[in-house]
Symmetry: C2
Subunit: 668 residues, 2 copies
C-alpha cells in the first residue's frame, strides 16, 4: 500500500516551533542567500551563481546572433578560484563546477515558500532567477554554465566529477516547485528541453553514463510523476540500471581524460568507485558506503524506482541500504557519515564523536530517503529516523537566528583542538556565514520550506501522519476531501489532538506511534482502532467535529550505544521525545569529559531561553571527576568525584551562545 505526499498548499503549518523555523527561512535565510547568489555579501565567499548565469546567457545570445563559440577556460577543473567579484572577467566561469545548483536550490526553496504564502516581492526575485536560467540555455536544450563557458564541446564527457547531471537534478526540483507554486511553466519547459537533450545522448542503445553525484534519479521520478511523461521515467531507470555495471562508465571517462593528458589507461572495473556508489549494480548493493550525501540521494531515487516500477529487487536493496545506514552507521543525532575521508560512511559501528562528518546535507538526504521508504511501506521505524534527523542534525545545521550554518555536525567539540589539530580541520566549533561550497544552507532551506511534504502521506483510503508538526491538513479519504487540524507541540509534550474541521469521509487515519513514546493513551471513544508497524490505525467515518486525542508519554530517556560502537562505550546520552540533548561548556564549565552522568538518577525538564527561544532543557544529577594526584599513569582506584548537576540543551540549539566545548555522549 504505497502512499503519496500531500501538495504543499494542502498542509498549512501552524506549529509554534516549526512555523518560526519556516518563517526564518523566508525572512532571513532566503534574502541572505539571494544576496549570496548575487555576490553582494561582504566578507563571504562569492557564489558566482548569477554571474555565471549572465555570462552563459551572453555566450548563448552571441551565438544565436551568429557569433563564434569562444571558450573562457579549460573544461577540466573542479574549482575555479575567482578574484574579487568587482574585478572578475564578466565572461568567465568562477567557483565550483556544481555552482549552478546553488541557485536552483534557492529557486526551489523560495517557490515552496510562495506555495505557502503569496509574496509579490519574493516572486519577482524568483522570476529574476528563473529568467537568468532560461536565458542561459543552449539552443539544443543543454544547460550548464560551466561547460557553456569553458568548452561546450566537452559537455557530458566527465559525468563522474563534473556534476552536470547533479545540477540537472536540482533544476528539475526547482522547476516543479516553481510551477506548483505559481502555475508558471517557463522553468519547467526549459527543464524538459534539457532533459530531452540528455535523453538524446544517454539511454539504451545510446551513450552509457550516469550521474557522478546522484539526485537526477529522484528528480526524474518526480518529473515523471508531475508530468506523466514516460520519457523521464525511462531516463531515471536508465541512470539507475547503468550505474555500477561493467565496463564502468566512470572508468571509461577517466581513461579518455587520461589519454588527453598522456597518462596510461586504468583497468576498466567498477569496483574502485565506492565513493560514487558506482562499484556494483544498484540492486546488488547492501551496505551504505562512500560519500554520504550521494548515497542518501541514490537511495531516495532507488526507493522511488522500487515504488514506481514495483521492483522487488530494488526494494530489497533499499531495505538493506536503509538497515546498513541507520542500524549500523547513523549517529544518535540522525547524522550519517562517520569519516571526513570522502565525507563518507565509515565501517559499521565506527561513529567517532569528535571527528564525525555528519554533513547537514546527508541528514537532509536521510529525510528524503525515509519519506520515500514510508511511501513504500508505512513503518514507524522510518518515520522515527526521519524525525531524528530532522529535529537534530538538520536543525543543528542552521543557527537559531538563521544567519550561520554548520556543514559538519560533530557530537563532541573542543574548540582548542579544532583550531590546532589538523585531524579536526573539517570540524568548525562555530557556524559559518557562508561556504564557497555552499550545499548545506540552501538544502536546509528547501527542506524546511517543504516540511509539509513530510508530515503526512496518503494512499487511496488512508492518511498517514508521520510527523507531529502542528498543521491544518487538507486530505482526500476514499475520494472525499476533508480538512483536519493537527495540534502538537513536541517541545512541550507528546499530546496530540487531531480534529476534523470540514468535510466528511470514510477511511483510515494512521497516527505514528513514536519510538520515543512510553506507550500511548488514546481518547477516541467508539472509534475502531488497531496498531500495526508502529502506527495507530483509526478507521470509520470522519465528520467535522470529530476529535481524537492521543497522549504519547515523553519521558527523559537515557540512551546507550550498541556494544559494537566503541565510541559510546561507558557513555550515555539524554533524549526526550525527538530531541537529543548535549552538554555545553557555557552551562557546565570546561572539560566536559570529566563529567559523569548517573543514568539511574531522575532528570528534570526546565525551560530556558537560548537565542530568542524558550526551550526545554534537562537538569541532570551528575558527578565531576577530580584530577586528583598522580602522574599521567597511576594506580587504578575508584575515581574521586564531586557531585554536581548538569544542564543539557537540545542538540539543535548548541553553539548559539559563543564557542565552547560540547558533548552529546557523557561518561557514565
Amino acid at each position: 500500500m504505497t502512499s503519496q505526499p500531500l501538495p504543499l498548499s494542502h498542509v498549512k503549518i501552524s506549529d509554534a516551533f516549526w512555523k518560526r523555523e519556516m518563517d526564518l527561512v523566508r525572512d532571513v535565510v532566503l534574502p541572505y542567500q539571494w544576496d549570496a547568489l548575487n555576490d553582494r555579501i561582504e566578507g563571504a565567499a562569492p557564489s558566482w551563481w548569477m554571474h555565471n548565469m549572465r555570462a552563459a546567457a551572453r555566450s548563448v545570445a552571441a551565438r544565436k546572433a551568429g557569433g563564434p563559440y569562444v571558450p573562457h577556460g579549460r573544461p577540466d577543473q573542479i574549482h575555479i578560484e575567482g578574484p574579487d567579484p568587482a574585478s572578475a572577467d564578466p565572461d568567465a566561469f568562477y567557483g565550483w563546477v556544481f555552482q549552478d545548483s546553488d541557485g536552483y536550490k534557492w529557486i526551489e526553496a523560495a517557490s515552496y515558500q510562495l506555495a505557502l504564502k503569496p509574496d509579490t516581492a519574493l516572486q519577482a526575485r524568483v522570476q529574476e532567477a528563473v529568467d537568468a536560467v532560461c536565458a542561459a540555455q543552449e539552443a539544443d536544450g543543454y544547460l550548464n554554465t560551466y561547460y557553456t563557458l569553458n568548452g561546450i564541446d566537452r559537455a557530458f564527457t566527465y559525468l563522474k566529477d563534473h556534476h552536470e547531471l547533479y545540477c540537472f537534478g536540482h533544476l528539475i526540483e526547482a522547476a516543479i516547485a516553481w510551477r506548483d507554486a505559481t502555475g508558471r511553466d517557463d522553468l519547467l519547459n526549459v527543464t524538459r528541453r534539457f532533459a530531452a537533450c540528455i535523453a538524446r545522448r544517454f539511454g539504451p542503445g545510446k551513450d552509457r553514463g550516469c550521474p557522478g553525484h546522484e539526485i537526477a534519479e529522484m528528480a526524474l521520478f518526480r518529473l515523471y510523476e508531475a508530468t506523466g511523461e514516460q520519457e523521464w521515467l525511462d531516463l531515471a531507470n536508465f541512470f539507475l540500471d547503468v550505474r555500477g555495471t561493467e565496463p564502468s562508465t566512470f572508468a571509461l571517462e577517466e581513461n579518455e581524460r587520461r589519454k588527453r593528458e598522456g597518462l596510461p589507461a586504468l583497468p576498466v572495473t567498477a569496483s574502485r568507485y565506492v565513493y560514487y556508489q558506482a562499484h556494483k549494480p544498484v540492486r546488488q548493493m547492501r551496505e551504505a558506503t562512500g560519500h554520504a550525501v550521494r548515497q542518501m540521494y541514490l537511495c531516495s531515487g532507488m526507493a522511488d524506482a522500487a515504488r514506481v516500477n514495483r521492483d522487488g529487487a530494488m526494494l530489497a536493496a533499499c531495505e538493506a541500504l536503509w538497515s546498513s545506514a541507520v542500524d549500523e552507521k547513523m549517529y544518535v543525532t540522525g547524522g550519517v557519515g562517520g569519516t571526513h575521508v570522502g565525507e563518507a560512511f565509515s565501517l559499521p559501528y565506527d561513529l567517532p564523536s569528535d571527528t564525525a562528518y555528519s554533513e547537514t546535507c546527508a541528514a537532509v538526504g536521510l529525510v528524503f530517503f525515509a519519506r520515500r521508504m514510508l511511501q513504500l511501506r508505512p513503518d514507524s521505524a522510518f518515520a522515527d529516523v526521519m524525525e531524528r534527523a530532522l529535529w537534530n542534525t538538520v536543525l543543528a545545521g542552521m543557527a537559531l537566528d538563521g544567519r550561520s550554518f554548520f556543514y559538519v555536525n560533530p557530537l563532541e567539540v573542543d574548540p582548542a583542538a579544532c583550531r590546532e589539530d589538523q585531524r579536526l580541520s573539517h570540524v568548525k566549533p562555530e557556524r559559518q556565514k557562508w561556504f564557497g561550497c555552499a550545499c548545506c544552507p540552501p538544502n536546509v532551506a528547501r527542506l524546511l520550506s517543504s516540511l509539509g511534504a513530510y508530515i503526512a502521506t496518503q494512499s487511496a483510503d488512508t492518511l498517514f501522519v508521520h510527523l507531529y508538526v502542528g498543521s491544518e491538513i487538507e486530505a482526500v479519504l476514499s475520494g472525499k476531501r476533508v480538512r483536519l487540524s493537527l495540534d502538537a507541540n513536541l517541545l512541550r509534550d507528546g499530546v496530540i489532538r487531531l480534529s476534523v474541521t470540514e468535510g466528511e469521509a470514510e477511511g483510515t487515519i494512521a497516527l505514528r506511534i513514536p519510538g520515543w513514546a512510553d506507550g500511548f493513551r488514546l481518547d477516541a471513544p467508539g472509534r475502531p482502532c488497531r496498531t500495526q508497524d508502529g502506527y495507530l490505525f483509526l478507521s470509520g467515518r470522519w465528520r467535522a467535529g470529530d476529535t481524537v486525542h492521543v497522549d504519547f508519554p515523553m519521558p527523559v530517556r537515557v540512551l546507550t550505544g550498541h556494544p559494537m560502537v566503541k565510541e559510546t562505550a561507558h557513555q550515555v546520552c539524554y533524549s526526550r521525545g525527538p530531541l537529543v540533548y548535549c552538554a555545553e561548556e557555557k552551562d557546565n564549565g570546561a572539560y566536559l569529559h570529566l563529567l559523569q552522568a548517573l543514568p539511574e538518577a531522575e532528570a528534570q525538564v526546565a525551560w530556558e531561553t537560548i537565542g530568542s527561544l524558550r526551550l526545554p532543557v534537562l537538569k541532570v544529577p551528575a558527578r565531576r571527576r577530580q584530577i586528583g594526584t598522580g602522574g599521567l599513569y597511576r594506580p587504578w582506584s575508584v575515581p574521586d568525584t564531586e557531585d554536581t548537576s548538569l544542564t543539557l540543551v537540545p542538540y539543535f540549539a548548541w553553539g548559539n551562545r559563543g564557542a565552547g566545548e560540547m558533548r552529546v555522549w557523557l561518561y557514565d
Copy 2:
C-alpha cells in the same frame, strides 16, 4: 653531580633476555640489513645505500682525475623513485634524500657489536661499508651522495628538508663507534674533514643555518667529548643557538627556493616551523611539539649542551620539555607522537590508541634523552621512562625473531579497520620486512647493540645503576677499578644481586628504586645506606666478594590514565615491573572492546611460549559485554556481561602470532 656512560667494552651483558635480543641483532638483524643496504632482498624496497655511495665515489674520482662535474638529477626532490636495482642508472641517486644515514646507522650498530665481541667476518663487512663512505667524500671534505650526484653546487642550501646535517650526525655516531670498537680512525678522519667543511660554512660571522632534522647536535657533543676538539663543541653550540631565532634560516632558505621557482616570498618568521622545533630559540622552549623524533633528538643535544656548558637556561628548557613529553604526551608504553599528522606530538593529553603514531624511532630518541637527563641529574623518574620506552615500544618495534619491524606502535589495533579506514593508513597490523624509509630498524639495532651505555653511568665517586639488565660491569670508583656482577631477571622478578668480583675501592653505588616496585627489601648488612631522588645510595668500601641483595617487589599493577586523557577514560591497563601488557585476539577472541576488566580482582602470572620465548603472561578475571537486544541506540541498563578470563601478553611481544586485534587499554 653529572655522570658519564661506561665504555661499551666495560659492560658485558649476560642477562638471559637482553643477551638474546642483542645476539639477535648481531645474528639476524645486521646481516639482513647488510643485504638491504646492498639491495639484495627480494620483495623489499631497495635501500640504494651502497648504490648511492658507489655512484658518488665514481663522481668524486672522475673529478679528481680532472673530469667535469656531471649532475644526474635535479637537487630539489625529497624522494627519488628508483627502478628495479638491476636496471638502475649506476650513476644516479635513488631513494630518500636522507638515504646515506641508513648505512651510517648500520656501521654504528655493527661496531657496537664488534666492541662487545670480535668478529672478523662482520668487521670485514663494516670495513667495506666504511671504505665506500670514505671514497664518496668530496675533495673539500663534503660528504653527501644526494648532492654529489644531483647538484653539488646546491649543497647546504636547503637544510630544512634535505637532511645533509642529519646524515652528518649519523656519520659522527658511526665513526666514533667504529673507532671505539676497532681503533681504526679512517671513518673518524673522514668525519672530521666533513665537520671542518661544515664549520667553514656555518658559524658565528659565517652563514647561519641549522639541521632540519636534528641529531648533529648530540653527535657533535659526542665528537667533542671523544676527541676533546673545541671546534666541534663550538659547532654544536652554534647549531643550537641559531635554531628558532629571527630571521628564520628555514624561511630564508625556503624563499630562495621559491624565488628559483618564481613564487612570491613568504614572511621570514620562525613561528611556522614548529614541526622542526625551529619556531623559537631553544632556551625558550617549554612544550614538546612537532615531529617527535626530531624533538627527542633535539632534547638529547640540548641536555648534552646543558651538561657540557653548565648552561642553566638550557637545563630549564630540558626539564620543561621532559615534563611536557612524559607527563602530558607519552603513551603508557613509553611511545611518543600522538598524531600521524607530521608524525608529531599532539596536544597535551591527546593520546589516541588506535590512530597513535608512537614511532619506534621516537621511543629510541626518548631513551637517548632520558640517559642524558640522568647524566645531568640522577633521578629515577628519568630512568623509569627510559626503561618503559625500552622494554615496551623499542622492543615492540622488532619482531621476536628479528625479521620484521613496526614503524608505528599503536595501542589498539583492528586489522580490518587498518585495511579499510584511510585514517588508519599509517597503522600496520603486522610488522613489515623493510621500509623504503628505513629509519626504525637500524635505530633499534644501534640502540640494542649499545645497551651497555644505558645500564649505568658513573661520576667520580658514584656508580649509578639505572637499568637492571644482568651484566658484568667494570667501573671506576674514586679512581679505583672494580669489577661488579649485576644479576637480574626482570621477566621473572625484581630480585637484584650486585657483587664485587674483582678490585677494591671506596665509593658509592646508587641503585635505582624502580617506580613499579612496591618498596624494596635490602640485604646489605652494615653498609651505609640512604635514599635520594629514587636511588638507593650504598657507600663505603667495596671489596671482591661483597654482595648486596635487593628485592623490588613486582606486583601486577592496574593502571589508569590521568583524568585529562579522554582516550583512557573508564579504561585500565595491566603492568608488571617494566612491562605493559596487552590483550590479543589470539588469546581472547575478537571484539576486544567488549571485554571489561575487573580492576580489583587479582591477576596471576603464568608462563607461556610466544615465538620461541618463554614469557610471563597475565591471567586476569574479566567480563565480556553481551551484544544483547535492541538497536543502535537503546535505553541504558546495567550492561549484560558474561564472566571470562583474559590472557594478557607483554606489549613488546604482540603481533608475533599472526594478524589480529590488540588492545592495551581495557574498559573497566
